[in-house]
């Protein structure tokens, strides 16, 4: 086998096997360097994979040399390549920037463990994405979950602990629900491979278990993905996590769960269950709409910067789900694009927050007066990413909103009211982003006299700005993610052979 053919396996194996090695790297800084190297390597692999599947091919890798229904297969297609880019990109970028911030929040002797957990999280998420086996997805979901519990528990104050405990409980329930669903499907079809399931589920006569399984899988994954109203774990967990962890997780963790959800629903159940389309829409659409509206309104009145952004994530997840709930090619394209774009925007925002945290211990909006004067570059980056989150044209966020609205209009009768929802929530986004901007730029500094120029460390700032610029770049030249998103949509609903 050539090296290129090994890429899907290496995508998971490289960060995963680096983790134990990192634990051994005791001197400070070395653990970070090692982890970053591994992160960048896996990002490079993801890019290579994306290039390889850009023309609509699917890379299949038989683990252990055992072909699909018997062994575990890895599959990389356009959709997975997109999410892989996102996961490894977020992981690598956050790692690259992490050092200084983590040095302040995690004791040196705990850092090797921290970075090892980080790599495990990365490997777990990547593992979920490349896997084509329902149970294997569960295993890697648990790796990533455990890793994220660890990462979040590293949070600076004690409130991180109850938050992460809640996450642990809900995450485990979600994973177990998923496991139940997979079990029921396995029971009725005798296979665990997704493609094989898709093929065999049509032969099942007794549909009750399959329907219940679909319910369990959907709800379980919705829990993991923090779909409204199952999102209660998310705001606190993201708020109290170490800043860099928030960057990493907010950019990709929930999206991977959504990825599995979309994949399951449109590959395994779609076409095979009568009325499934209708039922899925019936389930997902109201939740998405409610999530968008409720979370946006909550965010409008939130006073803590990180929690505000975390709450907004719930709304953004709503957008992704909304796109998926149309069960149309346009909808999936919009969903996939929004995953990518939201990761860019939120990642950039949280990076900027990490920068801010260097001089502002208290991240409540009321305490951030004078920030723009002290940290002009950080604040400017934050504004750029904020605009992307709103969906201002010229930024990445606009592209997905555009696609989403187009998809909504295509979806028929409901279209216009959904467009209204999207627009109203965009305006809400304007409100909450603008509250941040006002706090940063126009609020009087609370502690007078300390308005000297004091930017965040260069390393962090550079990454932040790189992400901010990417927000603009992908707003003007979204071809790569768009090609992948189109490819995934064609794959998932386009009835590709």
């Amino acid at each position: 086998m050539t090296f290129m053919e090994h890429l899907p396996a290496l995508q998971v194996v490289v960060p995963m096997l680096s983790a134990p090695l990192i634990v051994l790297l005791q001197p400070r800084g070395l653990a970070w360097a090692g982890a970053t190297a591994a992160g960048l390597a896996s990002f490079a692999i993801a890019i290579a994979l994306a290039m390889a599947v850009l023309d609509g091919q699917t890379q299949v890798y038989a683990m252990g040399g055992w072909a699909a229904p018997y062994g575990i297969a890895l599959e990389v297609d356009a959709f997975s390549a997109l999410v892989l880019l996102l996961v490894t990109g977020a992981g690598a970028a956050a790692l690259l920037a992490a050092r200084v911030s983590v040095d302040r929040q995690i004791e040196p002797e705990r850092q090797p463990l921290f970075y090892a957990a980080w790599l495990l999280g990365l490997a777990g998420l990547a593992g979920i994405v490349v896997s084509a086996d329902a149970f294997n997805i569960f295993v890697f979901m648990e790796i990533s979950s455990l890793a994220s519990y660890i990462l979040i528990a590293g949070g600076p104050d004690r409130r991180a602990l109850p938050a992460v405990f809640k996450y642990l409980i809900m995450g485990t329930i979600g994973a177990t629900f998923y496991l139940i669903g997979v079990g029921l499907i396995y029971m009725m079809t005798g296979t665990l491979n997704l493609a094989d399931m898709q093929a065999r589920i049509g032969d099942v006569v007794a549909l009750n278990p399959i329907l219940v399984a679909a319910g369990f899988i959907t709800i379980g994954l919705a829990l993991k993905a923090a779909v409204f109203p199952l999102h209660v774990w998310l705001p606190n967990a993201y708020t109290h996590a170490p800043h860099m962890v928030t960057v990493f997780l907010a950019a990709c963790a929930t999206k991977v769960a959504l990825y599995v959800l979309i994949r399951f629903d449109s590959m395994v159940f779609q076409d095979r269950l009568s009325d499934h389309e209708f039922q899925f829409t019936l389930f997902a659409l109201p939740l998405a709409v409610l999530g968008i509206l409720v979370a946006s309104s909550v965010a409008m009145f939130e006073g803590h910067l990180k929690r505000l952004l975390a709450t907004s994530s719930v709304a953004q997840i709503g957008y992704i789900l909304l796109g998926a709930s149309f069960v149309s090619e346009a909808g999936i394209t919009a969903s996939a694009m929004h995953m990518f774009n939201h990761a860019l925007a939120k990642g950039g925002l949280f990076l900027a927050v990490a920068c801010l945290a260097f001089h502002f211990r208290d991240l409540r909006l009321s305490e951030l007066g004078g920030a723009a004067r002290r940290m002009p570059l950080t604040c400017a980056a934050l504004v750029v990413c904020g605009l992307s989150l709103i969906g201002v044209p010229g930024t990445a966020g606009f592209i997905s909103k555009w696609l989403l609205i187009t998809a909504a209009l295509e979806s028929g009768l409901w279209g216009w009211s959904l467009v209204a929802v999207i627009l109203v929530s965009s305006l809400m986004a304007v409100v909450y982003i603008w509250r941040i901007v006002e706090a940063l730029y126009f609020q009087q500094a609370s502690a007078e006299g300390d308005t000297s120029f004091a930017e965040a460390p260069l390393q962090l700032l550079l990454v932040t700005w790189a992400v901010a610029l990417l927000n603009i770049f992908f707003g003007l030249f979204p071809h790569l993610p768009l090609a992948l998103a189109n490819g995934s949509a064609a794959l998932l609903v386009g009835g590709a052979p």
């Binding site: 569960f138 648990e142 528990a153 405990f165 409980i169 329930i173 177990t176 139940i180 079990g183 029971m187």
Partner: protein, 119 residues
Amino acid sequence: MKLLELLGYYNYWVFAVVLTVGLYAVIRKRNLIKKLIGLSIFQSAVFLLYITMDKVEGGTAPIIQKGVPDQVFSNPLPQVLILTAIVVGVSTLALGLAMVVRIKESYGTIEEHEILGAD
């Protein structure tokens, strides 16, 4: 015959009930350790579901004995899956307990409402 057939579903019902009991504890109990115990019961129920489906009537554990022809074996695959799932369960439990210990140290209590009240 009818009754016997119903008995064939007994395992599933037990699965459902145990699952429910575990979930109830997780949702309703405010003591964090109790929640974790509930969670492990909840997970155990799933093990039962999987193991139930592996059984074949007249079958035996899937360890091939040399020289015994025409043996019927139960399905090995769910067992493999559950082996992994058990490990996952224990790992989650250990992590959860570690968190509870830290929560107790920093809050002085492991009752959910008191923790929420403390912040």
